[in-house]
């Protein structure tokens, strides 16, 4: 167990190093002004302004956000990321609750499934960037703090994978187990809590993993269009200074990546807790 953990950590570091090396190789040998493939300009410019060296990004972390400040930028970015993390977490939990409740409702009443599922799918085709300002404006009417609306938009993206996965999980209970509960004359609710739900966990958890990252994306995108000052907002402000300080924007990118990893890690922790006594995948 510990050895496997160490191996995974080592692999992670190796993968990270590979990305850095690839980056540096492109900076060193890539076309300074970008390039064309099959007549289309798709190769990025390898100039130092567009692609700063990895060590510059690393160094930048320890310089202040604005010249003259004492606080290094990594502290500032961590602060932004922490704020975004909390909103994403609230959004994720909201999304899970709503998504699971919706799936239970849909699995209980086929009419609801047939009537609602198309709208659930359609909801995900609405561009968040267009929706966010509207939702924020609505939020103003209700006198709620802005961050709650950003979290709600995270939930809006997170509920979908959770809901679809839960619906699939709830409908894949084995017929024999259902018959067993039937032979005990167990109620619908008892069958749900004692059988259907625990049996659906192997389906729900992958849905939650997708939902966790979706919540992060939802919150970051919504920050940009609502002006809530998390890591998404920071990326935007830093990007505006990219010409004079190209490495700075990447510090925000690191913050966002770290935050996504943290959210994902939370779900993995939950999985380890819930699935600790289940047979390993592939066996049984």
């Amino acid at each position: 167990m510990i050895r496997r953990g160490l191996r995974r950590a080592a692999l992670f570091i190796v993968a990270l190093a590979l990305v850095a090396v690839t980056w540096e190789l492109y900076v060193a040998f890539g076309p300074e002004d970008g390039g064309e493939v099959l007549g289309m300009r798709i190769l990025p410019r390898a100039s130092e302004r567009a692609m700063p060296h990895t060590w510059e990004m690393g160094q930048r972390l320890f310089d202040p956000e604005v010249r003259g400040q004492d606080r290094p930028i990594w502290l500032a970015v961590t602060g932004y990321a922490w704020y975004t993390f909390r909103m994403a977490l609230v959004g994720f939990l909201l999304g899970c609750t709503f998504g699971i409740a919706l799936a239970v409702l849909m699995s209980r009443f086929r009419v609801v499934e047939r009537g609602l599922l198309p709208y659930v799918v359609a909801s995900q085709t609405v561009p968040l960037i267009a929706l966010a300002p509207q939702v924020a404006a609505l939020g103003g009417n209700w006198d709620l703090p802005k961050w709650t609306w950003v979290a709600a938009l995270g939930a809006f993206l997170a509920f979908f994978p959770v809901s679809v996965a839960t619906l699939k999980g709830l409908s894949s209970t084995s017929a024999a187990s259902l018959e067993l509960m039937d032979s005990y004359a167990a109620s619908w609710w008892t069958t749900l809590t004692k059988l259907r739900f625990p049996a659906a966990m192997p389906y729900i958890i992958p849905g939650m993993k997708l939902g966790a990252t979706a919540a992060v994306i939802g919150v970051i995108v919504s920050e940009v269009s609502t002006g809530v000052r998390g890591v998404g907002f920071a990326s935007l402000t830093y990007a505006q200074k990219a010409t004079s300080d190209p490495a700075q924007v990447y510090t925000a990118v690191f913050g966002a990546a770290l935050l996504g990893l943290a959210m994902f890690g939370l779900v993995v922790g939950f999985e380890l807790l819930v699935m600790r006594n289940r047979p390993a995948e592939g066996s049984s």
Partner: protein, 277 residues
């Protein structure tokens, strides 16, 4: 041998099946007449096997007794009550071919499931599950997860779960069908011991002739499309049957009887799917 199925049913009978027929998808293109006019009385303490080729409706008959299906015509009494009331009051326990254990519950919690649903206190459940674990000789495995057990052990847990609430009736649908022959014979002997200790009546669906004869005091032979009882064969191996009973003349004689009864049924409907081993 005894061809008359209904012999004056009395309220104390474990199961009374009276003129039951079962049609699936009635009135539709894919209508199937699964059972045609079944009469069967099972006395308390009986071990009754239902045997017949695939599609003869033996599992359907078991599910009608369990009230997992409602008959198209006729009535089923269990323990002197309607089948639906008997189900609500958990008057029977059930075991299937797949042990159907919940993989997220350990052995003990699996056995306690029916007790939990009955609203028993934790202390009372603990006491009963310990008793059941001892009965099926798995006391050392209380904290194991089902997937850590062999197939035979899983079935023993399933039997313990089915009997946990001390129901007077045990319904089994090919419970040993997925086990290898050695384990299967061992489980048959274990089942007899457990049922004698628990004083339960058993209805047992199988497609193995030796299994039916070894376990039962009555073997109900069925024929397919629509399922009917063609013959009921009494087996007199005594209450203390053991591994030696498998060498008994009575054992071989009854196996021959059941086989011939099945051949008769076969001639009626051209059936397949019976194990001779």
């Amino acid at each position: 041998m005894n061809n008359s199925a209904v012999v004056n049913p009395v309220p104390s009978d474990a199961v009374v099946v009276d003129g039951v027929s079962m049609v699936f998808n009635e009135g539709q293109q894919n209508q199937v007449e699964a059972l045609g006019s079944i009469d069967l009385v099972i006395r308390p303490g009986d071990f009754v096997s239902l045997i017949g080729p695939s599609g003869c409706g033996k599992s359907t008959l078991l599910r009608l007794i369990a009230n997992l299906l409602d008959p198209t015509a006729g009535s089923v009494l269990v323990n002197g009550k309607s089948a639906s009331q008997a189900r609500v009051e958990q008057d029977y326990g059930m075991a299937f071919q797949q042990s159907g254990l919940f993989e997220w519950r350990n052995v003990q919690k699996n056995i306690e499931l029916p007790l939990e649903l009955k609203g028993w206190s934790k202390a009372r459940r603990r006491e009963r599950s310990a008793e059941m674990l001892e009965l099926v000789k798995l006391s050392d495995f209380a904290a194991h997860m089902p997937w850590q057990l062999s197939g035979g052990m899983q079935q023993r847990v399933a039997i313990a779960r089915a009997l946990a609430a001390h129901p007077p009736l045990l319904l089994m649908d090919e419970p040993f069908g997925a086990l290898d022959e050695m384990t299967r014979e061992h489980m048959q002997a274990e089942l007899l011991r457990i049922c004698a200790a628990a004083e339960t009546t058993v209805v047992f669906v199988t497609h193995s002739i030796p299994e039916a004869v070894y376990l039962s005091n009555r073997v109900v032979v069925m024929s397919p499309r629509p399922g009917r009882i063609t013959e009921i064969i009494d087996v007199d191996l005594g209450d203390d049957r053991d591994e030696d009973s498998r060498e008994d003349d009575e054992f071989y004689a009854r196996i021959t009887d059941v086989r011939e009864a099945l051949r008769g049924a076969d001639r009626v409907a051209g059936a397949r799917g019976i194990e001779d081993r």
